[in-house]
Symmetry: C2
Subunit: 345 residues, 2 copies
């Protein structure tokens, strides 16, 4: 009972997928990389399959194998990093669809797994993954003759709708995929919100499914409650935690909760973050430790048993603002020590 409890609302997850799906007239896939954005790939993928997703995306082949184990045969499971050296067995045995990013990967795939499914990623300007325009021009006929499952690219600035990069990448992707017969995919969550020009035949939402910005209408999926180990009274002048960074200026009651930065609660968020007892805000006092956090509960009527860090109102984006990062990083940092509970299936 000393480990904190992370509750994942599978009903909210399914509702978010359906809401993003309803924004387009095309097929909607689901990105479940990084262990389902930290929430557990097995239950996440199963829930999204039930909601209607038929195509899933993972980052690496090992993740694809875990998704296949959860989903069973049928749904397509694509791997963004493509076909790396040594991956043929994992790809073959788990019926994965590598998203080939280069001539090297195309050759490796056709040689080691002839006739096996694949997709293509093109670089439309982000310079991260995918074939360059010149490379694609040289390989296009060979690749298309083998019947790729889909062709995709990725937007660098979709979270900033007015950024000129969006139209630039749209034009580059459109140009590179003219007269292609398989489904084309350019957009993750941010691209879906940019409107129909960006949708093509397939979208691939990730963060929006899990309740994160830029999908402001998303329902919160992750709820996190931390158990209180003990509470104590401080006299004015007494300090809390490492480095004595906070000192009481009045009589204060401090609760110590059993979670810390080893659980993905970034130290950087400490000074600006509160925990919650129902609707009552309880500010963090002193530095976040590896396994412990001090919280001000002076104004509560009772000593709480648990205090909440992620709620319907205090989301991963709230914490990200306090830590100077993005909700994606808060989500994918959620630690292995939490007991994960699934609700609302």
């Amino acid at each position: 009972m000393t480990t904190a409890s992370l509750t994942i609302d599978l009903g909210a997850l399914a509702a978010n997928w359906k809401a993003l799906d309803a924004m387009t007239r095309c097929e909607t896939a689901a990105v479940v990389k990084a262990n389902g954005y930290g929430l557990g790939v097995a239950r996440v993928a199963q829930t999204l399959a039930t909601a209607g997703a038929r195509r899933f995306f993972t980052a690496v082949a090992e993740e694809g194998a875990a998704a296949r184990k959860a989903l069973g045969p049928g749904p397509e499971i694509a791997v963004f990093s493509g076909h790396m050296a040594g991956d043929a067995d994992l790809i073959g045995q788990n019926d994965l669809t590598p998203v080939l990013n280069s001539a090297d990967q195309l050759v490796r795939h056709l040689e080691s797994l002839p006739g096996h499914a694949f997709a293509i990623q093109l670089d439309s300007g982000m310079n991260r993954l995918g074939m360059e325009p010149a490379e694609w021009a040289a390989l296009r006929d060979i690749a298309l003759a083998q019947g790729p499952s889909f062709i995709m690219s990725h937007l660098a600035c979709a979270d900033a709708p007015d950024h000129a990069m969006n139209a630039q990448q749209l034009a580059a992707f459109t140009e590179m995929t003219q007269d292609v017969e398989c489904p084309r995919s350019l957009s993750a969550t941010g691209g879906i919100l940019l409107g129909p020009d960006y949708h093509f035949e397939l979208t691939r939402p990730g963060i929006g499914l899990y309740g994160g910005l830029p999908f402001a209408a998303a329902q919160a999926v992750a709820h996190l409650s931390l158990p209180v180990i003990q509470t104590r009274e401080l006299a004015p002048g007494e300090t809390v935690g490492y480095g004595n960074t906070w000192a009481a200026t009045a009589p204060t009651r401090i609760a110590t909760v059993a979670a810390g930065y080893a659980d993905g609660i970034h130290r950087a968020m400490g000074p600006k973050t509160s925990l919650w007892h129902g609707g009552v805000e309880c500010p963090i006092r002193g530095r976040i430790s590896m396994d412990l956090i001090g919280v001000d509960v002076s104004h509560l009527d009772e000593d709480p048993q648990m205090l909440d860090l992620l709620t319907a109102n205090q989301t991963v984006d709230t914490l990200a603002d306090a830590a100077g990062t993005i909700g994606y990083e808060i989500l994918t940092s959620l630690g292995g020590r939490y007991s994960r509970r699934y609700a609302g299936a």
Copy 2:
């Protein structure tokens, strides 16, 4: 083969324990909480037991059970969070020694597991865990009559040797433990370095075992290599990664490696961090993504297959400086997606 490879040097781990043990005339325990500071509690605990540790510390009872599974019967496994409601079975079945932090915990323990081992934590001023001086004065005779395994406290400012708080906590702990017959413990790694006044009968090093500051003489334990997915040429003006935060000013060759902030590589370290190809520095370009990082390899003679993030010279503290945090947080963030390899046993 697309997942990154974290190599843990068990020889360095054992050497660090022995070096810290040699600095005192007392018993040296080992802190293995947070999954052995992110490196895998089973192999870490077994290695430290072979090196000579006979007492281990975890944060919560669930971690204690994992350590017991690795160590078998014999060594003492203490739990810093003490005896929480609902923990009696875990504590009893795994022969754990809860470090009782309050009157509530003392009563709970004596009632639910009479005769079972326990230890005591006293608060000497950090106001995080442990009994307050007045609480201890009231309970001392009852607690000592039951034969605690040891009595401990924890320093808030041990990493700053000149901080007045150190002498203050030393005086408070000495005062509270006068005429106590069981072993007393005040110091983790930082306290060991403060000198013999702080050692008492038992020390509890953590971070120093794993190669982190403040133990500057520690050997590096964690080595991390990231596989390259593909490399590409950029013309001047082309950008890399989300938000177009980096633009090439000359022809540039960029390698994309398969790891990112979902693997604990904090986004915040991006602009100031390099990867290494042998002794050659390769700066990160653009933002760190969830699963991918762009790296400048223009000046290499060949396209690398792997690039190193943690080496003997670029340690967790180097990365922590770049990210604005401490080595402890970098270590305990090391992700679940890495393939962990143990060397030097």
